[in-house]
Subunit: 498 residues, 2 copies
């Protein structure tokens, strides 16, 4: 190891330990901690977060990084660690500390203001705060922009390196051209699928039993992972040998917990698949939001909604709920879990329409960042786009422009990751199909081979490589949205017999 | 706040945050963490522990403490924080760092060596290590001893401030004089209590339900506390608003989980009762091991084995297990939970004989520390004392001198705390009886008043006052073993109709 890098190591160890502690506190807060603890524990987490920040952002580490950027004896992993840390310095140092402080104070309150606006369905409560959040984000992006770089491109790059508006316009353009008309056709056909059996009474203990089986079945390793209950499902990892995800069981909903298991299980399998060597460095998480989402969506949608996946295990589900599913055959079940319908709320939308929800947010964020839309005009623009692309109009702002928390936190450029995840999943799937007979494996209940393929090409690397690097190495080309569009068209044309 | 103390505050905040993180990791390791995580997580905990140590033990904090020891504008809490921290410095600074390092390396292995010796019932495997551990402890105590202070007194003071051999000789002397003959009488009477109903099949889900009720009933507050399952029961607290204890349920044992609940619940009620003002400082734990044990033993034995306690709730226990307890009336139940019998293993012993197990360890530790017994002679000395005081002889060293982990960790002077806890509980109980009709409160199911009395006199202070200070303030006199001896004699004379 480089002698200078050796001097960096204690800082990295400490930041990893503090990061793991914070991850454990987050898990514990959502799953177990007593209610009366939250306020005191929040202070403790604040102290640890500040300590984590100071462990990396300080003059000693900065000096080491300056030296290490010139070093020629670093391993690939070490070089990537140095590169990523330096990027943090560059970004922080371009923003005047007093402005950053102001923004931090604003964001400490903006979430609560948004929540109140949503709860009371009153956009005017949130608008002035949103305007300030946007102003800070535009200003900070301006400080950080390279010459000629557009503001929104600066933000997009934070979430997915190298993914600019040019790339995303092409991506979302294809979705608009192909998926909007497809959805119109489906809507016009007016075929109704009876999903009422999903809302019978399904005792939670039995659901738990089946979902435990399901998580193991898809490949989540309980020797290095656990599951728990929380209000909102999420996955987090202390390191690659301690990965956790939560579920939320509803007695009157069979599919909710099942698709949470395959979705969060997909995230979990990714984190468990990071190599030990990488997991011990700051590169131990997933490559990006988009890549992470590609793994959860791969398991949730491409695998988890397929007939081949359910053929060997549907019997077990029926055995678990013999009365509730007595008259539901596999075909009916598959139709029900692939039902597509335009709707208002992103988080409740189906596989087909999900990307259109994201497309709308992308288009709006673009205009926010280039200054061509005012905060006051957002509700109207939102509703107009929902009408145009999904054919539905939000009756209230709570079900419209106020539905997502992201903007209140200043997370502009985040939404596209969700759609990119789906598209990356399709691109990987397309390659996988060339190398193995996926349906045959699914029919045989052999999911290990699929997991191993993902581990070999994606999971093991953590954040060592970025999305395009892994896509090129795995599929021979960079990100290409065509596979996603083709996948959706083929699947839903078939499901709806168009 | 003193300006100098204000400079100390960030160090205290950081050490509290790291301490809470370590407490959470400990809890999580014992209750939930996946097996495969332990090795990596141990490294992370090692990093955090080292960080915690360095947060307090460093030249900046030392300089602040030197200044603060002379300050005259400190509150009582601040002054106690400074006093306790300075004590840590004094003790650490008297031990040569390289010797401390050697001892740390030894203790990292000694536990495993002890475990192997116990498992294979081979004292000779452990003896050389034990000899080294003893040598270090004697040497370190020697460095730390004040002029004329005996080595064992140095160690005893670590666990209970001000409790010297002079005090403890008097304490254990009374036990020897009074309890040993009492036990002989009981043994001679040969009265057998049929406890077999305790070992019927008690479904764990039902036990869980009753123990949840029981924890709340005695006053453990689930708004600021949680319970969990672990191999070995323990209590830990992140702070006064997040206190946790574990249980271990056995399907063939009704009383094990019940008395774990009242014991650990007693520890938990203590931690929950510390005032907010104290909990936010390094004084937030219990005053001492002995005082902590007094609270758990008070709930477990004095309250939890009394007829008045069970009278209002025994019906609920029978309702929970109607078949198993169909023919067990309250009187039979009370006799069963107060059965006394000489036995070999401390952790499984009853209320009467427990203190004799401790007395034997105290006598042996004294001789170890004054050098009057060699390591090789310990098994023989152990067996001889068990024969003399309890009338039983360990058939193997695993059931004798090897049964406890404490000596392998160098914890000499720790054992007496267990017996002191029982005695402190009796002294407090004696005072409580003067101020309220405890039996009447128990019969009415009003445990809040008992808890509030303990909170007012003991719990709220955390480590602000030491044991004798609280005993004097509460009972008008320092520690006095007479109440404990009288309590045991009265109770067991009555139970056994002597």
């Amino acid at each position: 190891m480089s002698q200078t890098y050796e001097k960096l190591q204690p800082y990295l160890d400490k930041s990893q330990a503090l990061g793991a502690a914070l991850a454990l506190f987050s898990w514990d807060n959502e799953t177990l901690a007593p209610k009366g603890a939250l306020e005191r524990t929040a202070k403790i987490m604040g102290t640890l977060s500040m300590e984590l920040y100071n462990t990396i952002m300080n003059p000693e580490v900065r000096a080491l990084l300056v030296e290490l950027r010139e070093a020629d004896d670093l391993t690939a992993i070490e070089a990537k660690v140095v590169k990523d840390l330096w990027k943090q310095y560059e970004q922080m140092e371009k923003i005047p500390p007093e402005e950053y402080q102001e923004f931090s104070e604003l964001s400490a309150q903006s979430g609560a203001i948004w929540a109140k606006a949503k709860q009371t369905n009153d956009y005017s409560v949130f608008a002035p705060t949103l305007a300030k959040v946007i102003e800070f984000n535009r200003k900070f992006a301006g400080y950080r922009a390279k010459e000629g770089q557009k503001l929104y491109d600066v933000l997009l790059d934070d979430f997915e390196e190298g993914f600019t508006m040019e790339k995303l316009d092409a991506f979302f353009g294809k979705l608009r051209e192909e998926i909007v008309p497809l959805l119109k056709k489906i809507t016009e056909k007016g075929q109704v699928v009876d999903k009422s059996f999903m809302r019978k009474e399904y005792p939670i203990a039995k659901q738990r039993e089946f979902n435990q089986f399901l998580a193991e079945y898809i490949g989540f390793d309980f020797n290095i992972g656990v599951t728990g209950d929380a209000e909102h499902p999420f996955t987090n990892g202390l390191h690659n040998r301690d990965v956790r995800f939560t579920n939320h069981f509803h007695e009157d909903n069979l599919e909710s917990a099942i698709f949470t298991t395959v979705h969060e299980g997909g995230h979990g399998i990714y984190e468990q698949g990071v190599s030990d060597e990488i997991s011990e460095t700051p590169l131990g998480g997933g490559a990006s939001m988009g890549m992470h989402e590609s793994q959860s969506r791969f398991y949730e949608n491409i695998i988890g909604r397929s007939e081949a996946f359910w053929t060997p295990i549907y019997g077990k589900l029926v055995e678990t709920f013999p009365e509730q599913l007595a008259e539901v055959d596999l075909d009916t079940f598959i139709k029900a879990i692939n039902y597509a319908e335009a709707s208002l709320i992103r988080t409740e939308s189906d596989e087909l329409t999900y990307c259109l929800h994201i497309m709308i947010r992308y288009e709006i964020e673009k205009r926010i960042m280039d200054g061509s839309v005012e905060v006051d005009e957002l509700p109207q623009l939102w509703n107009q786009m929902y009408e145009e692309y999904l054919g539905v109009t939000p009756p209230t702002d709570a079900e419209g422009v106020l539905q997502d928390v992201h903007w209140s936190m200043g997370s502009f450029g985040y939404f596209p990751s969700y759609a990119l995840g789906n598209a990356i999943a399709s691109q990987l799937y397309n390659q996988m199909l060339k190398e193995m007979n996926v349906d045959e494996l699914l029919l045989a209940g052999n999911l290990a081979q699929i997991k191993n393929w993902l581990k070999e090409h994606i999971h093991q690397y953590g954040q060592l490589k970025n999305t395009d690097e892994m896509l090129i190495a795995t599929t021979g080309e960079p990100f290409n949205a065509d596979y996603y569009v083709a996948y959706l068209k083929e699947k839903f044309t078939k499901v709806y017999g168009l």
